[in-house]
Amino acid sequence: MKQMIKLGLILALYAAASCFCLSLVNMVTSPVIAGHANEALKAGLKEVFSEAQKFSDPLDSTLYTAGANAKIDNVYQALDGSGNVIGVVIEFDGKTYDHARMIAGFRNDKDLTITGVKFLELSDSPGFGQRAQDPKEILKGCGKTFYGQFEGKKASEGFVLGNTYEAISGATITSTSVGKLLEQAAFTAGEVLGSSSIKAPAKVRSTPFTEAEALSEIFGENTVNTVAAPAGCEKAFTASDSSGVTGAAVIVSGKSFNDKATLLIAVNKDSIIAGVRVLYLNDTPGLGQKALEESFYSQFTGKKADTDFTKSGTYDAIASATITSNSLAQLIKTGAELALQTVSQAQ
């Protein structure tokens, strides 16, 4: 016993001596290492806001509200040679298909013009979402990289996929969610710069809608009336304003992967899908359940209502959730047909 204690103490002595030497080395090297990390960050900041001469230290987090859809990590003021604030760079992270951490620069003008966007980390799927940060991936529409396309855009115009910015083909969820993250960053930039041109982004939801929520989100101010449901759907509605019927919606159910799925599909009178919302879904979390996320269902808005969604290429399915995607596509096709019927009957 005594021998064991003696050995234990000797071991402890060696350990203590090692730790002491290590801490000496650490004291000398840690400021140098921190300096490197700082330089890398400064280089990144200059990349997204090249006009700035220098950047402030991170601002006190009490100066802006916590993000709803993205976590605001740091806010740096971009300063010119005389120390005036010419813009801000927001460092933020949040959910994309998996996760992303980015920096975005916003100029201090009335539209909060974007000076640059850069990914610091992106863990989405290689070959799909990962292309968002690929400098070699040039988008067909605008001829720029995905992250490069935002330079010069006005943050006040919002981030609407397919409208104010271009998606990566085959990576709708990543493309939509990056827009949501940028929306949050733009709002924070507006807060810090004292601009009111950006309104607070609504929290991105990933839970089922109620009938009332879905109808009010899609049809907004229009009056909604319940009408006789055509065969094949559970309920039908028409939406109208002072000029007459503007659109219709139906609720349809069908079999999905685990259980049934219930969707609300709305079309407008020009035979364009006004919106799709999930009212009930009980498939695999992380796979089929991703259909609850706005980045999935929002892709149908604006598509022609007579599109045969059972054909491949008409929409972006959820990767590795083929059965759920196919079931929902079938339901949306059926629902859109019935909604078109309802609209034409009402007019």
Partner: protein, 204 residues
């Protein structure tokens, strides 16, 4: 002097850790994709080996036999962390290139092997010379492997592009290529050893 010289050359050729003793192989295969990495790893490992053999040789009479292995590990781990911190601060590009294999120096069998079989039984001077011999022996084999793999796999030598990318053989930059080149070197070593033995046999 002669004794010390023979200790030094022992590590270089006769008891080369990689080719003859066949220890410390994992890191040698992983970091030899470029000559810069090979040299960097060689010197990093040599630093830990020299310092560990020195300290353990100095304290060899004060290390109780029953707990010698934990103490060896404490010393080796401490020096591995020290070289890690020094590289991260003063040579960050090398530290990034070596990546996880820098902290893995602590489990490099060469260091544990030499500390146990040599440093714990010999004088500090002999131990340091042995460490340098083993370290250079490890480094020169690493450089030869990296030369071949970098030239054939990436078409460059120490960063200088020599062969256009279309003619490079990616196989050599991957793990199987590492094994392949290493196997060739062992075969060459075995052939040299055999002919040396034959010569000795015929002289006798």
């Amino acid at each position: 002097m002669n004794k010390n010289l023979s200790i030094f050359t022992n590590g270089l050729i006769k008891e080369n850790p990689l080719l003859i003793l066949n220890i410390g192989l994992c890191s040698s295969l992983a970091v030899t994709t470029s000559v810069f990495n090979g040299i960097g790893m060689g010197f990093g490992m040599m630093f830990v080996l020299v310092m560990s053999e020195l300290i353990i040789s100095i304290f060899r009479k004060l290390i109780p036999d029953a707990i010698r292995l934990p103490i060896f590990i404490i010393v080796i781990a401490a020096f591995t962390t020290i070289i890690q911190l020094l590289l991260e601060a003063y040579m960050p590009s090398l530290s990034k290139a070596l990546g996880v294999f820098l902290p893995l120096i602590v489990v490099n069998c060469i260091i544990m092997g030499r500390v146990e079989s040599f440093a714990s039984k010999n004088s500090p001077l002999s131990s340091v010379i042995d460490a340098f011999g083993m370290g250079f022996g490890y480094t020169w084999v690493l450089v030869v492997i990296s030369l071949i793999r970098e030239l054939l796999g990436s078409g460059s030598f120490f960063g200088l592009k020599l062969i256009p990318e279309d003619y490079t053989i990616a196989f050599f930059s991957r793990a199987p290529g590492g094994f392949f080149v290493f196997g060739l070197l062992i075969a060459v070593t075995a052939a040299i050893k055999k002919s040396a033995q034959k010569k000795e046999g015929s002289v006798k």
